[in-house]
């Protein structure tokens, strides 16, 4: 059974058709990317999957449950991290994580925070205010927040956008090992094509709100007659939707 099934999702904001009939399926332990140029509808799609935006039509189900009808159950098994989100700046990292652990209804928040801090190597940051963190540290704390409930589906919007190459590589390795070892499904957006090539099993290209191509990195490169994903991206972004 697929962890996530989205069928015919559409969303219009005024004159703009942000998402136009998107179908998605993500299986257990699978790493899926949603790529596309700015304004292609990636974030709107992710936000519909998280219940932040209500689709005009279409349906989202996770773990066989309809998101609209089973919001609490579904969201307790999902998590989300995005580089553009903030955290309460006055709080220490430990307090932020403790509060989110409670918001996810965990039985032993402190133990879980300690585990996540060890996993993400953010132990030394626990006593620092989130407002004092560098952007890379902030991203790691956001990821820590996203792993607190041991999610079965982890949705990541630009997960390594603010990280240096070394930190980015470590986070990528961690995310891949989380997916492979625990069966957590990952759905990510990224503008780092190398990252997507290395991490993802399946890639969906979005343009003008529609999925215009899907497959592995190699399959997409072959389909478009180019050498790598970077060139696929440029081709889709510059030449629009292929026939």
């Amino acid at each position: 059974m697929a962890i996530l099934e989205a069928q015919s999702l559409t969303k219009r904001f005024g004159p703009v058709q942000a998402v136009d009939g998107v179908d998605l399926s993500v299986g257990e332990g699978e790493i899926t990317a949603l790529l596309g140029p700015n304004g292609a509808g990636k974030s709107t799609t992710l936000h519909m999957l998280l219940g932040l935006v209500t689709p005009d039509s279409g349906r989202v189900s996770m773990f066989g449950l309809d998101l609209q009808k089973h919001r609490t159950e579904v969201l307790s098994r999902v998590n989300f991290s995005a580089s553009y989100l903030g955290l309460p700046g006055v709080l220490h990292v430990r307090e932020v994580l403790n509060s989110f652990a409670r918001l996810y209804g965990l039985r032993d928040p402190r133990r879980r925070v300690a585990e996540v801090a060890e996993l993400l190597e953010i132990g030394p940051l626990l006593k620092r205010r989130t407002s004092d963190l560098s952007s890379g540290q902030h991203t790691r704390v956001q990821l820590g927040k996203a792993l607190l409930n041991d999610p079965e589906l982890l949705i990541l919007d630009e997960p390594t956008a603010a990280l240096d190459p070394d930190a980015g590589e470590r986070i990528r390795n961690l995310l891949v090992s989380v997916a492979r070892e625990t069966g957590t499904a990952l759905l990510i957006t990224s503008h780092n094509m190398l990252e997507v090539e290395r991490m993802c099993d399946t890639i969906h290209f979005l343009a003008a709100g529609r999925i215009v191509a899907s497959g592995s990195a190699a399959e997409l490169a072959a389909h478009f007659g180019v050498v790598d994903l970077e060139e696929v991206f440029l081709k889709v972004a510059r030449e629009g939707v292929p026939a």
């Binding site: 969303k11 904001f13 942000a18 974030s43 709107t44 936000h47 998280l50 219940g51 932040l52 935006v53 209500t54 919001r71 609490t72 159950e73 969201l75 307790s76 999902v78 998590n79 989300f80 995005a82 553009y84 989100l85 903030g86 955290l87 309460p88 700046g89 006055v90 709080l91 220490h92 307090e95 932020v96 403790n98 509060s99 989110f100 652990a101 409670r102 918001l103 996810y104 209804g105 965990l106 039985r107 032993d108 879980r112 585990e115 996993l119 205010r129 927040k145 607190l148 409930n149 041991d150």
Partner: protein, 273 residues
């Protein structure tokens, strides 16, 4: 290494999630001396200013003014803080771009508001304790001379304040961060017809009708009656409580509708930008 959670719909899970909201706000208060300072600053300033005004009036043989004005100042603070504290709790999530993080957790809208309300109670209790002590020390006014009626008086004002906070939150969800001015000012829209510092009878007749629809006016009228030696007007309080129920129901409906609208129009997503 796994996270073990309570069953999402269990009472323990709900309690834990509400505690998460309260924990976050308590931790923020602990980390920020400014937040502790502002619990005390405005109430104390108002108490001192109005306290000395009443002493001046008393020296000029105006009867009852000390108890009535100080009682009004203290009870007005209950309404004012109830409205502001809940709205500020929400606005802090907006200011820190944390609202999306909250809305992708299993926390329901009701649990979130309950957490904000519980935290506001803690802050109001702290601020009120200081004010009551100061009123007694500086002016010899004991708020508890209002007697048993004080509890329903405060309860009506607290509930009204929370309802107004929900309206302010709804305004921000609907119109964006710029509407936060509603959070600071909405309660003052009610002040002229609430009869805080004067009896409703001094208002023009149309405003008296309007005042009758404001729960706070019944509380302040009742407080003046009790401080003037009359028994607690339970029938008036019952009217105020019934009005409160209406206000809360309308505010909850508005909040729910605005949240659905924000999700439909993609406005919730914008709070992360």
């Amino acid at each position: 290494m796994t996270a073990i959670a309570f069953e999402p719909h269990s009472t323990r899970a709900r309690r834990r999630r509400i505690a998460g909201v309260v924990y976050r706000d308590l931790a923020a208060m602990r980390r920020s001396p400014i937040r502790v300072f502002e619990i005390l600053f405005w109430p104390v300033i108002e108490l001192v200013v109005w306290g000395y005004v009443t002493l001046f009036l008393q020296a000029n043989k105006v009867p009852f003014v000390v108890s009535m004005l100080l009682g009004a100042v203290l009870l007005w603070q209950v309404l004012h803080r109830a409205s502001n504290e809940v709205a500020i709790g929400f606005l802090e999530d907006v200011w820190s771009r944390n609202l999306i993080n909250l809305h992708v957790t299993p926390v329901t809208a009701g649990e979130y508001v309950t957490g904000l309300v519980l935290f506001s109670l803690i802050k109001i209790a702290g601020g009120l304790a200081v004010m009551v002590t100061l009123a007694y020390v500086l002016y010899g006014f004991g708020l508890f001379t209002v007697g048993i009626g004080l509890i329903p008086f405060m309860a009506v004002l607290l509930v009204l304040g929370w309802a107004l906070a929900l309206v302010a939150i709804s305004a921000v969800l609907r119109f964006g961060e710029g509407a936060q001015v509603v959070a600071w000012s909405l309660v003052f829209v009610f002040q002229p017809v609430a009869g805080v510092f004067y009896p409703v009878s001094v208002l023009p007749e149309p405003l008296q009708w309007l005042a009758g629809a404001v729960p706070a006016s019944h509380v302040f009228e009742g407080m003046r009656a009790v401080l003037g030696g009359a028994p607690v007007p339970w029938d008036t309080l019952a009217v105020a409580a019934a009005l409160d129920v209406g206000y809360v129901a309308a505010a909850l409906w508005l909040y729910g509708a605005t949240l659905r609208h924000a999700r439909s129009k993609g406005r919730l997503s914008r709070f992360g930008e």
